[in-house]
């Protein structure tokens, strides 16, 4: 993770400069000309952000193809199956979208702290705790037959709040005691899972289910439905909504500006009078809330109860998605869908090519490493550079 951390702070370092430079430019040049130049510059510089990840994807695919050839398997068949299993049929697309729904939210849980310079990997714990809190809050409401809408809103609120607290703890420890947030959030994940197991196997256990310790089931009436016309639950829509809102929050508000300044250079931010500590904790809480809501959807849209099945690794896959999306909330949406597609097609690959499940993990790992390496390429291609705007890297 050290490499990732260096890479992301490198990116963040320069980001705020854009915002500082823009108003200055606007006052010194003619507005219309400036506007046209600005568009050209924007297209060129954003082309870099699209081209380099695509090149990285191509390189990792090439490396993976070599690996397949070494195993005596056909890379062409592999990629054909990935396309077919992930995106080729109406069923495959639904499959992909359903798998990407939790990934958008857990990736946001990594992306938001990353903008303030933190490598927070505790999304899994916040997801589990959020889902557990949602299921727990539901027990008295379901027993008293409270209206489903109110129950679901309270469950979502509980999930978000507990998730926020869970990652918030890592934020507070970071700010107040200087504890490394990567380690503490990872360890908090294990504590969260243990707490859930403790209650699910103890005081909150549904005794009618003797072999799989779980909380009381919600029942059909209290479940979140599917998006009409699809088989994908509402978690996907909420994830996309969160991604858009957080993008606006981080790139178009003073809060977001302060976050990016603090992420770029905390000392400079402090010198400017920015409340860096509060911003750190706020970012962590937002992150935790995203993961907590993902947990709520796992309980309310899928499992119908809280149990060990909540620990499905979505929080960890989210880390990968966020890094691939360069911690940009909007980019997280397509990247999560790409990942959902790779995972969805993984089954078909296993079945048709007789390859172990680890094959798809290997592809994911290769992609991750190549992408991290590709971070060093930004600003090195002349084609993307516009004169006088090198600070845009």
């Amino acid at each position: 993770m050290e490499g990732g951390r260096a890479a992301c702070s490198q990116v963040l370092w320069w980001k705020p400069m854009v915002d500082v430079a823009e108003p200055l430019l606007a006052t010194t040049t003619q507005p219309a000309l400036e506007w046209r130049m600005d568009i050209a510059v924007r297209i060129r510089s954003s082309a870099e952000y699209i081209a380099i990840p695509l090149i990285a994807l191509a390189v990792s695919s090439l490396l993976f193809a070599l690996f397949l050839l070494a195993l005596g398997k056909s890379p062409a068949l592999f990629f054909e199956l990935v396309v077919r299993g992930g995106f080729g049929t109406a069923f495959s697309i639904q499959n992909t979208l359903q798998r990407s729904a939790p990934l958008i939210l857990t990736a946001l849980a990594v992306a938001v702290p990353a903008r303030i310079g933190l490598v927070m990997i505790g999304g899994e714990g916040a997801l589990v705790m959020g889902g557990f809190a949602a299921a727990t809050v539901a027990i008295p409401l379901v027993l008293t037959e409270a209206p489903p809408m109110i129950t679901l809103i309270l469950m979502a609120a509980a999930g978000a709040a507990v998730g926020a607290i869970w990652v918030g703890i890592a934020g507070i420890l970071r700010h107040a005691r200087g504890v490394n947030e990567t380690i503490s959030s990872l360890l908090l994940t294990y504590i969260g899972i243990a707490i859930m197991n403790f209650f699910v196997e103890g005081s909150l256990r549904d005794l009618t289910n003797p072999n799989k310790p779980s909380t009381m089931p919600l029942g059909e009436a209290y479940m979140v439905g599917k998006i009409p016309g699809t088989e994908v639950h509402w978690g996907l829509a909420v994830g996309i909504l969160f991604a858009i809102v957080l993008y606006i929050l981080l790139s178009r508000t003073t809060f977001g500006f302060a976050v990016r300044i603090s992420g770029g250079n905390p000392r400079a931010a402090l010198a400017q009078g920015l409340p860096v500590g509060k911003l750190v904790v706020a970012c962590c809480c937002i992150a935790g809330a995203c993961a907590g809501v993902a947990g709520f959807f796992e309980v309310a849209a899928i499992q119908g109860r809280a149990n060990a099945s909540l620990v499905a690794g979505y929080g960890f896959t989210g880390i990968l998605v966020s890094f691939l999306a360069r911690h940009n909330p909007l980019a997280i949406i397509p990247v999560a869908i790409l990942f959902g597609g790779i995972v969805a097609s993984g089954g078909l690959v296993q079945r048709r090519m007789d390859l172990p499940d680890a094959t798809v993990l290997l592809l994911q790992g290769l992609t991750f490493v190549v992408l991290l390496v590709s971070e060093t390429l930004y600003g090195r291609f002349k084609i993307f550079q516009v004169r006088g705007t090198t600070d845009r890297t």
């Binding site: 299993g85 003797p210 048709r352």
Partner: protein, 367 residues
Amino acid sequence: MSQLLVSRRSFLQGTAAGLVAAGSFSRQAYAADVTIGIVYVGPRDDFGWNQAHAVAVQALKSLPGVKAVEEENVPETDACAKSMESMVNLDGAKIVLGTSFGYFDPFMVDLAKKYAKVEFRHAAPLWNASKHPKNLGSYFGYLNQAHYVDGIAAGLSTKSNKLGFVAAKPISSVLSNINSFMLGAKKTNPNAVVQVIFTGDWSLPVREAEAVNALIDAGCDVITCHVDGPKVVVETAEKRGVRTCGHNASQAPLAPKGFITGAEYKWETIYKSYAAALAKGEKLPNMTSGGYEADMVRNSPFGAGASPEARNAATAAIAGLKAKQPIYVGPLKDNKGKVVIDKTYDNLDPYLDQMNYLLEGVVGSIT
């Protein structure tokens, strides 16, 4: 399982031969009449639960006209529903087998409603005729019978009269294995006691190793377990120089010196019966279960740790179980002194499925 290892190695060695055969094989596969889909929660080579199923699927693949499609490491979320659906939609599976407990409700129940023409079967006794669709069902084996045979052999293999049991969670199926193991040991060695440690979850390798060490330090000289993948337990015990009994699949290759025998499922009996029924166009049973009397469990071939007496006693016990001799001969007390089994129960009696106690002779607590 040892079959699986060998097949893998020979696969690597025989790639050339494989390439030649590939054309004809794949044509055969596509001409298959019945496609069976199977979903595992962990890796197929875990020396445990998943491997036991994978070995049976391997046997199934050898049948003419049967094609099996497998998917491993599928979590108990909607991912498992989508994997199964993908088998139905993209592979044309006529029957889908879910092998992990959490796949059943809500995922397989919903799928069975959605795909009324596809049969779904799940490896735990959860199907209920009044609640669940008719194209859904359950299958499972009474593994406690094989643990009883383990106990018979273990009772004759111990010098300290202390047997160690590493268990995952105190739920009825686990408790029934512990109690049966103890009753088997008592049968051949009235002085034997079984000491149990619960690790708290199905797969906690570090804690499993700690538990084995703690049991051996407490004087146990035969170790067995009920966890998802017994690899760590068996290897740790072998390293400490004590004997072991296995669980789920054969761990014999992991303990060349101390392996006695092990409790194994024989899923291929069930899977082959499903394939045969589908080929004939018959309706599959909704509930399939049994123990030795139905050839649904077995004991691993004896290892170097099994003495001739242990082998003879175990072989005799297997013959007894095939003739439906009861394991639970009442009255029996739990380890707090309360009579919990009032009379002798048949090996498949549903009363025994509700077990929530450790019998006298087991040292340990479920709370």
